[in-house]
Symmetry: C2
Subunit: 171 residues, 2 copies
């Protein structure tokens, strides 16, 4: 059976249960550097927890991911989560992209998924433990800045979807 | 007296004493997500230290800075440092920008400064304690993703320059 999932435009409000939206628009800000710069402060706070069985302090690291465009129709097969840390993605190109998430909890079924279209000015940070699809670029090869946890312990769970899920990008 | 400082193109090699260059080009990478994405892993590790007098654990936060273009000629008046944490800047627009730093140590004099032109694909992370000029956009209002420390304690020192320093962007 094929499930169709309708993608909505991403906003702080509709993403609040899953994490933070990283964008200047609509965020509070204040001048710094003698008025030459506006600081949109604390759009997200990073989570990086130690593992119970190996309590060496984890690090927060900065990476770049380069994603190939996803073939159409966008077909989802697998969700993943990082129980010990948040993971943030900020687009570095002028392309919109696709965010698919499911609530913290047991392995998600197709009906638990939510899909959001992010603009080129919108990043997201998934809260620790939030199920999310691997990175989905849409129209072109795309660069993303990624901020996540590095350190010992178990910080990746994967969960295949048992149904075929197709994302409808226009509804 | 006016000092002229010549800006060089930024590279990992010439910036190594001050921190990390955040760019995919020239960095090692490996495939993830079933080959749909390349991960340029650990371009930088974030530093966030507790303050000695208030040892509450600090946080790492994600911000956006929006910088006005700097008037020409680029004239430097002040350097700053963050003794308790690194600070990373990644451009989100297609504009080059200017990085000015001085080594960890006493308040810098004009002769201690180094200036680098960063491309639109290059971010930097200043190591904790590295003197740097406040953000310098060049040609247009520019957005930057900024990753830095939030928490109690003394994490900002400013040091005015006693000589007038002009940055020569082409040499």
């Amino acid at each position: 059976m094929t499930i169709h999932l309708s993608a909505q435009p991403l906003s702080r409000e509709n993403f609040a249960a899953f994490g933070d939206v990283l964008e200047a628009q609509g965020a509070s800000h204040y001048p710094i550097n003698n008025g030459t710069t506006e600081r949109y402060h604390r759009l997200a706070a990073v989570e990086a927890y130690p593992d119970r069985t190996d309590p060496a302090p984890p690090e927060t690291i900065i990476n770049i991911f380069v994603a190939k465009p996803t073939p159409h129709p966008v077909t989802l097969t697998l969700m993943e989560r990082h129980p010990l840390g948040s993971q943030a993605f900020m687009p570095l190109n002028s392309s919109h992209w696709l965010v698919v998430v499911a609530p913290i909890g047991p392995a998600p079924a197709a009906n638990d998924l939510r899909a959001f279209i992010a603009t080129a000015q919108q990043g997201v940070q998934y809260r620790a433990g939030v199920w999310h699809h691997p990175l989905l670029a849409l129209d072109a090869q795309s660069h993303f800045m990624v901020i996540d946890r590095d350190g010992p312990g178990h910080n990746l769970d994967e969960s295949p979807l048992t149904e075929r899920v197709i994302v409808d990008l226009e509804n």
